[in-house]
Amino acid sequence: MASVDTLHVGSVSHGHDHDHDHDHDDLPWIRKYVFSEDHKYIAKQYLISGILWAVLGGLFSLIFRLQLGFPNADLTWLKPILGEWIQNGKLDPEFYLAMVTMHGTIMVFFVLTAGLSGTFSNFLIPLQIGARDMASGFLNMLSYWFFFASSVVMLISVFLKTGPASGGWVIYPPLSALPQAVTGSGMGMTLWLGAMALFIVSTLLGGLNYVTTVINLRTKGMTFSRLPLTIWAFFITAIIGLLSFPVLFAAALLLIFDRSLGTSFFLSEIYIGGEALHHEGGSPILFQHLFWFLGHPEVYIVLLPALGITSEIVATNSRKPIFGYKAMVFSIVAIAFLSFIVWAHHMFVTGMNPFLGTIFMVLTLIIAVPSAVKAFNYIATIWRGNIVFTPAMLFSIGLVSFFISGGLTGIVLGNAATDIQLHDTYFVVAHFHIVMGSASFFGMLAGVYHWFPKMFGRMLDDRLGYIHFWLTFIGVYLVFFPMHYMGIAGFPRRYYSWTGFDAFSYTGETNELGEAIIKFADMNQLITIAAIITFVAQFLFIFNFFYSMYRGRVASANPWKSNTLEWTTPVNPGHGNWPGEIPQVYRWPYDYSKPGAKDDFIPQTVPFSETPESNLPNEVDE
């Protein structure tokens, strides 16, 4: 393969020549397979944890979807698993809320933050910038194990008799502060807060490492303007995380004080369970400000890595340079900056000062501009390409579709005037599940399909990948698109049932049997069935993943004919990534289909002096 032949060995500019590729084999197995400090191994640990959490998070959503789609079904068959949470064949309403809460928490933090950023930042940063490993392998190892500890604590909370946290993933106090208000706010909430504290530590350790590594350990010639867009995305994501997660930590800490030490940061004038509580002077809205100061950047912590991955995959498989590289970088930076100053658009109807609402509306809608630039640049990249539909490419196009569909509805939600009616309805559920949930999820899947050969030295099965994509892609739209309609009809979210309200049930129509037709009962049923099919389709992927890990076709060194550095390593890179010296970089990573060039790709390690036939006027080796 061209990329291997031209592996160009330059002197490594950024000293730090670990060279522990030879002594790695001597490590005891516990340091090799459990407490590993190798970034590739840690990435796989994150990925497999993420997959396990995704199955659980998806399963939880099916439990509450059963209630919404088939409200009259007898769920006694679930009693062996759910025990007392099933009463008289019905799901307990509090457990319903617990499932909604855990689904959100797991998906946002454990799957799309740890599973996505943790996997690909760890895996790709050293490989794509030309580093032997992360700046600190030890902190990196700690980062995973803090995440693991957090997972264990969160998992334990699911099995509590009083149930896990059930105040929504946003855990607004006073609901989350008072066990009298909902039983999940007892031990379940304590464990939730403990787990999140551990999780934040993990994120900060990881983030510090990513930022340091990108800044300090780039190989010779790997200037910032030659970084693949994946690295730009991971880099900026890590910075957002470092700046916003500590604020959630502060909020969680103050909430712990309110819960356990009797302080009144978020609690005031409460009468519950037949008594007036002593709290006075706190503000529940203060918590929301602190929460969303993380909560909104978190959306981009989840989404930006997925967009970075997509940029790389779309360019590679369109056999075209990414359109507007500089604009893409600028958009990532602009989105990241703006993500810090839009948080209160989640709070238009909390009673905050209307002028503040105006400011946040303006700032929020500005974010649509860099987002639109990104969407247009993706479309321009596939325009007049020579597109190879690998499963990774399919998932990337799916991501762009979700990014557009879900992003557009954000414009109407970000408008304070129209948000009044839509706030906390299914319109919001539809919006963020498409733009943040599904898009990021597709980014993660695209990444796995694309870099699986580098991770395990084998290929995933394509055909299973195609079926997986089409089932999931259509499934996601069937699940979330109808929710827009329900939102416009005013259906509030986190409802166990809507039949208590004429506004959300009465249609005036009857079916052939003379029974009243319930508003959107058909849609809810469709959504639940689509969700079940989509969930089951993921097992195609899981089977493919574990099967191909051992029995898949053996990969070549550069199966996608890609330009980036990771494909210059051996098929199964050892500790330290490159057996010899780290290759030097001479060009940007998107020289695909360059006019005059022999192949339709020129890896970053090929100097301009070797490609006189395709060089642009200003392209000379420094």
Partner: protein, 370 residues
């Protein structure tokens, strides 16, 4: 027995699928297809994008038609007309953008699918076109922000003195409303420490403005008049949602909020408009508040001004319905005033001894029964 049968058959099916999968791989290896970079699957996938797009657009249209008859219909408030109009204008623009971008996104993969020997166009950037698609969204957003700001600041402007003030209080899991009463038309004070099983609002009866406040079981609103809802919660956060009026505002413990609006369609008119003789407006909770979040319904009735005034006059003040309770809670000086206000005999009481208190409350009870 049944479950064993299901288990066995599912396992069998999975085993068969696995065999087919394995055989497929082996035949591909034999045919040498697995070494090929791009096979026939590429064209199929490219074509599927077009199929899914066309079916998707048809589905989009049909599902919209099917669902739109279940939308909330004509807004029953002045500002609701504005927000609805803004919503549908923005949505139309967004739908247009959605169709244009998605058409490209689904058609390009088919048109520019891999072809042997073809070269993609090396086209890394074009500042002109990039400027265009930065500026156009920016202009559109400016328009949205401007009109959004106009509507938003109109909705959020302070209520006039003439507004009909009604207090809405949320608790787990019910709503309660308090009207200022006809004598003074002012809501009495409250304090959360005064809440108990009887006095759920925590009404302060040391404040004489409380004496004529009444707590009906329906939220009555006058048509065409400015209404100011003063909203609070006493345990966790709830959210007042009047879907037909396009009204939403959180109810926060310790931080009263408000929402001003003008109802424009009476319940009777709405019943005719949507052909449902049993139609009723509803008050709904839209902030997760615990087990009964989905069950916080409160009926809302809009009537003509004259009927509204009449209805108000017919309401009995809470203090009168709970005279004994009030007599215990109010101060000595106010008690006389309170009794007078309700047309009760005032007994001069130099000292509050228990016997006399009892006699007073008997009188009061007798009166409230009458």
């Amino acid at each position: 027995m049944n479950s064993i049968l299901i288990f066995v058959s599912v396992s069998l099916i999975l085993a068969i699928l696995f065999l087919i999968f394995r055989i497929g791989i082996l035949t591909n290896v034999l045919k040498g297809k697995s070494d090929q970079q791009v096979g026939s699957a590429n064209t199929i996938n490219a074509f599927l994008f077009v199929v899914v797009f066309v079916l998707g657009i048809i589905g989009f249209y049909l599902s919209f038609v099917h669902s739109s008859k279940y939308f909330l219909g004509e807004p029953a408030s002045q500002h609701g007309v504005e927000t609805d109009r803004l919503f549908w204008i923005i949505m139309s623009v967004l739908t247009l953008a959605f169709l244009v971008t998605n058409t490209m996104l689904y058609i390009f993969p088919f048109v520019y699918r891999y072809k042997e020997g073809k070269r993609a166009l090396f086209y890394p950037d074009n500042h002109f076109i990039e400027r265009i698609w930065t500026i156009i969204p920016a202009i559109v957003m400016t328009g949205f922000v401007y009109f959004g700001w106009l509507v938003w600041s109109d909705i959020m402007k302070p209520a006039s003195d003439k507004a009909e003030v009604i207090e809405v209080m949320a608790k787990q899991f019910a709503w309660q409303v308090r009207y200022p009463g006809v004598s003074d038309n002012k809501l009495g004070a409250y304090h959360f420490r005064k809440i108990d099983a009887t006095n759920e609002f925590g009404i302060d009866f040391n404040d004489e403005k409380s004496f004529d406040d009444f707590l009906p079981t329906e939220l009555y609103l006058p048509k065409g008049k400015e209404v100011l809802l003063e909203i609070r919660a006493r345990d966790v956060i709830h959210s007042v949602f009047l879907p037909h009026f396009r009204v939403k505002m959180d109810a926060v413990p310790g931080m009263p909020t408000k929402f001003r609006f003008v109802p424009t369609i009476t319940t009777k008119e709405m019943r005719v408009k949507n052909g449902n003789p049993n139609f009723n407006y509803e008050l709904v909770c839209t902030e997760i508040c615990g087990r009964g979040h989905y069950a916080m319904r409160f009926p809302v009735v809009v009537v003509e001004q004259a009927e509204y005034d009449e209805w108000k006059k017919k309401q009995t003040p809470w203090a009168q319905l709970n005279a004994e309770y009030v007599a215990q809670k109010t101060t000595k000086e106010l008690k006389e005033k309170y009794l007078k206000l309700n047309g009760l005999p005032v007994v001069a009481q130099p000292e509050m001894d228990s016997v006399k208190v009892d006699s007073t409350s008997n009188n009061l009870q007798a009166l409230s029964v009458k």
